[in-house]
Symmetry: C2
Subunit: 407 residues, 2 copies
């Protein structure tokens, strides 16, 4: 890897996107239009881009200049109707996006091309309770390995989208209390990773990345309003609203694991009582099953027992699913999504988990809302978060090279 | 009023806005840019508009032509740097927007100018359990009265934004089951009102209009993510997400009144049990207070008793507020709004109601989310919904005149 750390101006504030309506948001929208036009229509002149996007030729020319400067596009002199023109070509000359998913026990790296082809994908184990420094080291090493296996130089990497299983305060770029990885709380992951990896980094909550992956690589590319819900030792969700990731005020959204299900229930790690996580996380399921049997069970064991017809496992999953469905119903009543996609280590359960979730949804939602919300398992399995990381980079290729304007 | 009913093409499908990303959404965005530029910068040439918006002169010219055709702008030949040009002027020649709020017992009409000045405002009583036809007749008569008092001709009205206290299915434009006004269920209010009023109509859920009023006329004009929650005989909310009204999949959002608070509680009008409405609506408060005292209480009585220090009223409000706060906490955990504004007939209670709501919010939310969500009473009182109706019309002045393109 490169010896020098990236300068701070190279580290992109993925956690501080411009607000809609601001000048920088307007410029960002215009860039996205141009990139979409190039992805859909192939190489074309600036005049053609202006016609297709409705932007002025001056605007197109300015944006193309910036994108060419950062290697996103190449411009080639040409003629159009006998006049001199500039043909704009989206570079697919080896530029790649990296997606990195860091979990409690694993790290996964994917590389994707500008054409959204997955070039390489690897996972490595992490010890439970690993420090942030250790997680970072393993992730950076795995990225090196994957790049070298694929024969791709580090300079070809546009950036890395990194998923963290915890809420991220977008005002500061730090993981806040309530993370599944308490060792990471308070660390500015964006700066830490940016300095270590020597490339622009985009930090995201892992469930947000899972949501983004569903509309990018999943079967829901045409869905405008979708929730991706991850049920594991923690429970969280990512929201796609009006076709884009939704961040709310400070960036902490989808904290469904802390929906109150039982007012005087068990104490949750968040400090409240009876949260969904205390009745439906895999940790709770494991604890319930371990009390009832002589043989200790892990997450994979829950799935195997249930698929084998074990009565206790089926009951524990059914109770958890009903509670999850109740939380999903509250979401549906509030924001009326078209699709809810379930992810995490229990996706192999299929209808065994989906059926009680659907019952809970119908039981606790306004009828028309429950009936128009469909619930599916993610087809991306445990790849969703890392894929979403690459999608974050691909969805804003020009932004990293732009000067930052306060919004 | 005009004798002839409006043709159906004149009736704008306020309930069927284009999806973001579609061609019509793109055109709509471009129009909004031009209108904003005219509102902010005053009359200017098409070339200046192109520079200011980043759009091509051809795009600006096309949109201006359509807007001129519908009377939204006037174009005047001028010269700019010695060349012939067209100056574009936003019309404020008496054009007005009407906002109509229809409740269980009242109808309210406001008229606003293109400069957002409120020109006139009137309310009239409606009998409880009125039919849709009767509500419509009273609303249309009141609009006639207000127009004639203000000396404004019907042809100067750009359209009417109409608030209905019930969920509206945007696929069909009808009020669906669960409405506070069961007499209205299944009626296509858009067509009915459009034909009766003879102008473009925009139908909205009343809480959505309340939310829109907060960012248009309220003290929250710079807030990007806001929930307006109306607590009355029903409980519902409108959402402003990323600066715009949010509709979800079929248009039914903010159904907070049906958050499950008590799993085996009272049966709710929606068919579920223990919904927030069964513990915190004004109907429930009235029922509780009437059981405990010899003197029957109405909604205004709740406020008067509490302000006078009545122990039972204070307790009933405190319990209701805590339950409302729990529902608000679930919202905050999910979408992390910056501000929650409370509206409806209990706003006069001030901190008596706000304090238990804030306690409930902090008790049931992830700490950083609860601490960064502020809860206020609406300063617009019972005017919010009608004002929001006028805001709907003003926020899309050019759209009514555009041909409809399937999105």
């Amino acid at each position: 890897m490169r010896a020098e750390p990236a300068s701070t101006t190279r580290i992109h504030p993925g956690a501080l996107l411009p607000r809609p309506g601001s000048q920088s948001a307007l410029r960002e929208q215009n860039q996205q239009r141009i990139i979409r036009a190039l992805v859909n229509g192939g190489p074309q002149t600036q005049a053609e881009l202006a016609r297709q996007t409705g932007l002025s030729t001056a605007t197109v020319s300015n944006i193309v200049k910036v994108m060419a400067g950062s290697g996103i596009v190449t411009t080639v002199p040409t003629t159009s109707s006998g006049r001199r023109a500039l043909s704009v070509i989206l570079n697919d000359n080896g530029s790649v996006a990296a997606g990195i998913d860091i979990g409690r026990r694993h790290v996964r790296v994917v590389l994707a091309g500008l054409d959204y082809r997955i070039l390489r994908e690897e996972a490595a184990a992490l010890p439970l309770g690993h420090s942030a420094a250790e997680g970072l080291r393993v992730a950076a090493d795995l990225l090196d390995t994957v790049l070298s296996q694929a024969g791709i130089s580090r300079s070809a990497v546009l950036g890395a989208g990194i998923g963290i299983p915890g809420p991220i305060d977008r005002r500061t770029g730090t993981v806040v209390q309530g993370a599944i990885l308490p060792e990471w709380v308070g660390i500015n992951i964006r700066e830490t990773f940016g300095a270590r990896l020597g490339m622009p980094v985009y930090i995201e909550n892992d469930a947000n990345l899972g949501a983004l992956a569903q509309i990018t690589w999943g079967q829901h590319s045409r869905v405008e309003n979708l929730m991706f819900m991850k049920v594991g030792s923690g429970i969280g969700a990512g929201l796609i609203l009006n076709g884009a990731l939704f961040y709310g005020n400070v960036g902490i959204t989808g904290e469904l694991g802390h929906t109150t299900i039982s007012e005087h229930g068990l104490v949750c790690r968040c400090g409240n009582r009876g949260c969904l996580e205390t009745v439906a996380s895999t940790s709770t399921m494991i604890e319930l099953l371990n009390r009832g049997s002589g043989q200790p069970v892990d997450t994979q064991g829950i799935v195997e027992l249930a698929l084998g017809g074990d009565t206790a496992a089926l009951r524990v999953i059914d109770d958890a699913g009903l509670a999850i469905g109740r939380a999903v119903a509250h979401v549906a009543n509030l924001i009326n999504p078209e699709v809810v996609v379930m992810g995490g280590p229990l996706t192999g359960l299929g209808d065994i988990l989906l059926n009680p979730i659907r019952r809970g949804l119908l039981r606790h939602s306004v009828p028309i809302v429950g009936e128009t919300t469909s619930v599916h398992m993610s087809a991306l399995g445990d790849r969703a978060e890392a894929l979403g990381g690459a999608a974050v980079v691909l969805s804003q290729p020009a932004r990293a090279a732009l000067p930052l304007v306060p919004s």
